[in-house]
Symmetry: C2
Subunit: 169 residues, 2 copies
DNA sequence: AGGCTGAGTTTATTTTTATATACTCAGCTA
DNA sequence: TAGCTGAGTATATAAAAATAAACTCAGCCT
């Protein structure tokens, strides 16, 4: 256990450690998926939509924002466009999630789960996520590399290699 | 397996199912924590900050927005204020996370993890989250109730009890 | 050739955020 | 009792984001 963790520590990180708040993976993730509509677009992709017009219809999101968000997601490698063609129509782009996009699923599942727990409709959740193999309900969890299920209060956040002090002002 | 899942299904939800996109736990969660600064405030609480002035200094967020976001988080029961008193100062409010707030940790860990994987500084992550008991790295995962680790493509999303068709337009 | 459709782009307007500054208010300290 | 401090509130302005509606453009269909 690190020296600064000994004696009287209550909080997760050394108090007064003047981190640079923008040098943070959470902030960097939110720069990409934290704008309005982005997560909901990903939700729709995850639920099986892939057409521009589907996103627009289901989300009710303005077209220019939808175009901007899709452009961002493609630039960032979270979605890719493929061509698809329906009989009688010309070829159009199809938005498909990449492995990098798939890696956002735990975060989105976490949001879904919190909403199900605290803000669901009286009848229950709108969508159930199940394991395709065994049919059991899927849940976002936090676990350590030893396989223990870790509750929030059993975590400690320690400075990593890129933790630089905030430049003095 | 449900009838609509048979034959030719590729996407996670029955195609053309006209869900009402706003009747969604993800959307409802984002209504509360999806505004700018909110998740970053929670991150700071999680890292051990609790004073108004700490949030302001570390995040560089405007005071009026900070006050508005804290008010929202308290209204929603994600944070509570307690009184704390430093010697020589009068009693002041301290923002403390509730169990309801703790339940957002899996989602926030998911965001952290994605940023660590795809947008970290060259030196590595800024913060490491460890299990207080065994010291091992903590990770956000998706698992089913049978304990299987479930990848995104092994999930299926099926309509839940509150899945009403979108009202015809 | 003319119309239709999906996938956007453009432009104008409104709403949110951001920034900056001044102000309040309680209680500790000199 | 006057000043200082932390935790806000109030107000004004500027910048950014969201919304709404009209417009473009390619290619299929008649």
């Amino acid at each position: 256990m690190d020296a600064w963790m000994e004696s009287g520590m209550e909080s997760a990180v050394a108090p007064r450690l003047d981190r640079d708040a923008s040098n943070c993976s959470i902030a960097r993730t939110l720069e990409i998926v934290g704008e309005k509509w982005t997560i909901l677009i990903l939700r729709e992709v995850w639920y099986g939509s892939f057409r521009f017009s589907d996103f627009e219809r289901v989300l009710g999101c303005p077209r220019n924002l939808l175009a901007a968000r899709l452009r961002m997601l493609v630039e960032q490698g979270i979605l890719v466009t493929e061509a698809y063609k329906e009989p009688g129509s010309r070829s159009r782009p199809k938005y498909v999630i990449t492995p990098k996009g798939m890696d956002l699923v735990p975060a989105v599942m976490g949001l879904l789960q919190w909403g199900d727990r605290y803000r669901a409709a009286p009848e229950g959740p709108t969508v159930l996520v199940r394991h395709r193999g065994c049919g059991a309900r899927v849940e976002a969890q936090t676990r350590c590399d030893h396989g223990h299920h870790v509750q929030a209060h059993d975590m400690e956040s320690v400075p990593g290699p890129a933790c630089l002090p905030k430049p003095a002002q």
